[in-house]
Amino acid sequence: MSVLINGIRIKFTKEEPVKFMSHLDTLKMFERALRRASIHITHSQGFNPHAHMVFGLPLQVGVTSEAEYADFEFGERAQITPEEFLKNMNRVLPSGVRIIGAAAMSTRSNIMSCVAMASVNVTIRPDASCSAEDFHSRVLDFTLQKEISVERTTKNGTKTVNIKPMINSIECGDTGNGEFLLKMKLDAGSVSNLKPDAVIDGVRSFTGRLIEIERIHRTALLVRKADRILDPMSDEALFDN
């Protein structure tokens, strides 16, 4: 990652209609949208040239998001302003994908390499045998444990892991229609990564209740740069000094 990337970083949404589109298919979808919008970004050399674009943390299939990020590389000079990029791309993107922010960037750390945390809202199907207050206090007990052990399946079988250090915060909320809401900020990215499902597994075994996930929605993604946690669209994240 030592090469300076000159390009545009975008923030986009992935809503209900496209939530079953896989990460790989999302990449392909953007590549086609670029061609429809007649926007030329740099391509790799070789038999199968591919567009130079880098996406943030892959979103699980079935999960919606209001905070997806991608970097597009333009080489020496960008022939298009971030504003034009946003406008032209939104005209050709399928419904359910919308660019909500675009900014010029010039940094050695692309979005994928510096993801640090992700915030998600997990909606839990209400359980008649459990009031909201009750649920909230059980979750509080869960988070106050010294260690939070969950079983994680890896390539080499299952092992018990303490996920507490990877949970940055958990708050309880309410969606207004009786569903329980858990707002979590979890470690994400290549260094330390915790999926919301693993936390729910933990809550499930801690409370002994059959907790069913109704939906998961990503609300934010944060990056780390020189040990500072940043918004990916902040100047500090977009430019090396």
Binding site: M21, A33, R35, G62, P94
Partner: protein, 615 residues
């Protein structure tokens, strides 16, 4: 009312994006704005169906009409179907998610005999009575088209009517007739009578079939005056002026042919005697490079695809291929769009073309000698000599390729074990050529894949009277070849002989097979074309229980004079010509391709104009 698709279901099934719709360029209308709801059904998975060009054409064409909303329906995969049945979700159309049972017209494209159980299954999942005779007021009309509709008899009891040949013109006429009928307040029988007067439309329930004691057909008789005794297939005369969409749906999940399909011509100038497409799609008609370039540009604009595939039965036969590829490449390479040339005959000209088109991946090339000896290649009228083939292979190897696939058929009429030996010898010589080409160089070891399919005689070919080889004999031949192709440079694969045998039953079946089809479906048969789902034992039971002898259809030699189940249909090519070709095959005599010499197949009679053939 649209069906409700719970996330709980979708998250558990494989590739849920196949079931949610909403893809780019899919057409959404308001139900209240249209009078005709058309469900275009493809009786196979989303990935297969979405790769079908005919559906793309007719989908966008019908949706250009203000009065019609055409939507797509595919066979849900096993896991999704189970979830749908468990949760009481009927078959729905992808665009509106409305149940298919409430549509006006439900059209199936029949691409492959082995998808018939899926047709039955989809109708059942839609809550539409499976048999035409059981449908009543308020039920949709079920229509069929596509290559298998040229012998529609094995599914005659299931479909209300068939549209034969190319659908660009006939489809609109069917929709217009439907509109008139609905305003008239007539009953179902009235509509079927009305639609039977459209050229190219076949309504099977309007015909009586009489049988001889030996189970062959005695007569096919229209039940009423005014019902045509012969139905002639429809063709589009001028492809440049025919409708071709400038949009194609771009799926959210990978499909089999995930690229722009640009149709270059219809028909094929060769008359390979085993090939149904070569006869039913006659005459050969080309599009102009200008029209193709215009289409290509619009399609790239609307889809953003990175590849254009030039679609035809044999692209090397396009008269302006060099010009087209050059101009397309010039326009498309700045946009990072590649051109692919499937079905290309390999010679030095085409290799140069492929290089130019940026097709420099030297992974694999496919050759189709079809048979192992020149004698048998002449029998099937494959106008390729051994020298042609070796020359092509040499060219390919010199150009850096190191792996080739050779495609053959076994069980062809007049075949002997000498012909099988020929397959093995040919494969060995190909390796020899590779060694010679790369002599003194450190080259990668070559791979020669020999792929062998069991020959299935098809209607409207010169081999339509021929018996198919028995399953035992095919298996014996497969084993024989296997022990001949043991070298480490060979890969050998072959089709399931039992599946081919079932295909053969339905390819030339009559309407007495419908009962067996429904019975097999009731026993759980579906996705028969997918080897892992093919249930041979269930099919055997179904045939036994319905009193059908599959060998009567697959393995019986027919007399030239026999009334064949599909003789009510006219593809333009005359029976006399097919018979002549059949006799020539016995003598291993060649018939030249259409451009060299017109052999008088009869297709020029369509529209009564000899100039319909370009050559």
């Amino acid at each position: 009312m649209p069906v409700k698709l719970d996330d709980k279901i979708l998250i558990k099934v494989e590739k849920p994006a196949r079931y949610t719709g909403g893809e780019l360029n899919s057409v959404i209308k308001k139900p209240e704005d249209v009078t005709i709801r058309f469900a275009f059904c493809f009786p196979d998975s989303y990935e297969v169906g979405m790769s079908h060009l005919g559906m793309k054409i007719l989908y966008h064409m019908m949706n250009e009409r203000a009065d019609t909303w055409c939507e797509r329906v595919f066979a849900p995969w096993i896991d999704m179907e189970a979830a749908m049945r468990e949760n009481g979700i009927p078959l729905y159309a992808l665009e509106s998610r409305d149940p298919v049972g409430g549509f006006d017209l439900v059209g199936f494209t029949l691409q492959y005999e082995m998808s018939y159980t899926n047709v039955v299954n989809m109708l059942d999942l839609a809550g539409v009575p499976i048999l035409s005779a059981a449908r009543g007021h308020g039920d949709p009309f079920v229509l069929g088209g596509g290559p298998c509709a040229y012998n529609p008899e094995p599914v005659a009891d299931i479909f209300d009517f068939f549209v034969l040949g190319e659908g660009e013109e006939a489809t609109g006429e069917v929709l217009d007739t439907y509109t008139v009928w609905r305003k008239s307040g007539g009953d179902r029988a009235d509509f079927l009578r009305a639609v039977s007067t459209i050229p190219g439309v076949y309504v099977p329930s309007l015909y009586d079939i009489e049988y001889n004691d030996d189970r062959t057909i005695k007569a096919i008789k229209p039940k009423y005056d005014g019902v045509p005794a012969k139905i002639t297939k429809r063709i589009v005369r001028d492809l440049d002026r025919a409708y071709f969409p400038d949009k194609m749906i771009v799926p959210f999940t990978a499909i089999v042919h995930d690229r722009i399909m640009l149709e270059v011509f219809r028909g094929c100038p060769h008359g390979c005697r085993f090939c149904q497409a070569g006869f039913v799609y006659r005459p050969m008609r080309e599009k102009s490079p200008e029209r193709l370039l215009e289409s290509a540009e619009k399609l790239v604009d609307s889809t953003g695809y990175d590849e254009i595939s030039l679609v035809s039965l044999s692209i090397s036969d396009y008269s302006e291929l060099g010009d087209l590829t050059e101009r397309l490449t010039e326009k498309m390479s700045p946009r990072m769009v590649g051109i692919s040339l499937p079905s290309l005959r390999v010679d030095s000209f085409s290799l140069e073309l492929m290089e130019k088109a940026g097709q420099v991946r030297k992974s694999g090339l496919t050759f189709a000698p079809e048979a192992g000896t020149q004698r048998l290649r002449d029998v099937v009228n494959k106008g390729v000599t051994e020298d042609n083939l070796y020359e092509s292979v040499k060219t390919a190897f010199s150009g850096g390729w190191n792996s080739v696939k050779l495609y053959f058929m076994i069980g062809l009429p007049t075949e002997t074990y000498e012909d099988l030996d020929g397959i093995a010898e040919l494969a060995a010589r190909v390796i020899g050529i590779y060694r010679r080409v790369n002599e003194g160089r450190r080259a990668k070891p070559p791979t020669v894949t020999v792929s062998v399919a069991g020959f299935v005689p098809k209607p409207f070919t010169p081999f339509q009277w021929e018996p198919m080889d028995s399953i035992e004999s095919l298996k014996e031949k497969q084993r024989y070849l296997k022990q001949k192709l043991t070298g480490k440079n060979f890969k050998y694969n072959y089709h399931d002989a039992e599946l081919s045998a079932l295909e053969a039953v339905f390819a030339r079946g009559d309407r007495r097979l419908c009962a067996a089809l429904v019975q097999a479906w009731q026993k759980g048969c579906k996705f028969d074309g997918w080897t892992e789902h093919f249930k041979k034992d269930k099919w055997d039971e179904a045939f036994a229980e319905t009193g059908i002898d599959p060998e009567f259809y697959a393995n019986r030699k027919r007399e030239y004079g026999e009334i064949l189940p599909w003789s009510v249909i006219d593809i333009g090519v005359t029976v006399k010509f097919l018979e002549m070709e059949s006799r020539k095959a016995q003598e291993a005599l060649l018939t030249p391709d259409c451009r060299r010499d017109c052999s008088g197949c009869g297709v020029t009679a369509l529209k009564g104009d000899a100039k319909i053939c370009r050559f």
